[in-house]
């Protein structure tokens, strides 16, 4: 990957993944379930390890996990939380 040689204005998926580590994120799965928490680490498959994870089903808090691993194939998107 030549992520660092792209033009300054664009931001490839690799750049994005690098920039969001340690930030608060929302991860939405294909099933529609949201996971909010602090992104501990992730890889190119979008496998994700999160801390202080909260599970939201239909917008309602259903569960809390200290640490959670999400397998990348289930991920619809990763969003930076406000």
């Amino acid at each position: 990957m030549e992520a660092s040689t792209t033009t300054s204005a664009s931001k490839t998926p690799a750049d994005f993944l690098k920039s969001i580590r340690g930030k608060r994120v929302v991860v939405k799965l294909n099933s529609g379930v949201d996971y909010r928490g602090i992104l501990a680490c992730l890889d190119g498959y979008m496998n994700i390890a999160m801390e202080h994870t909260e599970e939201y089903v239909n917008g309602q808090l259903k569960n809390k996990y200290g640490d959670a691993f999400i397998r990348g194939n289930n991920v619809l998107y990763i969003s930076l939380a406000k």
Binding site: P13, V75, Y77
Partner: protein, 97 residues
């Protein structure tokens, strides 16, 4: 917006445009993304994409139509990485119709 150093797949035929070259033209432009399942769509500014067409969108809006009620919900997302696995179509312009 093709880089001058980049070799085109069809240098002798300017009318031939690869699909990825079309998406390349949309970087830093508004796009409308329609997902495979048919009831989810996104609009936003395309900041970049990779070989899987995973897309980085800024100031994105997620549109989700409920199958039973037909009611559409929207959600504003400032910066997202959208998994390319479920993308069906990318429309330049970003206006839904």
């Amino acid at each position: 917006m093709a880089l001058p150093t980049k070799q085109s797949a069809a240098p002798n035929n300017p009318s031939l445009l690869l699909p990825s070259e079309l998406v390349d033209k949309c970087v830093n432009e508004k796009v409308w993304i329609i997902m495979k399942n048919g009831h989810k769509e996104f609009t936003g500014t395309l900041k970049g994409f990779d070989v899987y067409v995973n897309c980085v969108l800024e100031d994105a809006i997620e549109y989700d139509r409920d199958q039973e009620s037909g009611k559409e919900t929207t959600k504003n997302l400032e910066s997202i990485l959208l998994n390319g696995n479920n993308i069906c179509m990318i429309v330049p312009g970003g206006e839904r119709s």
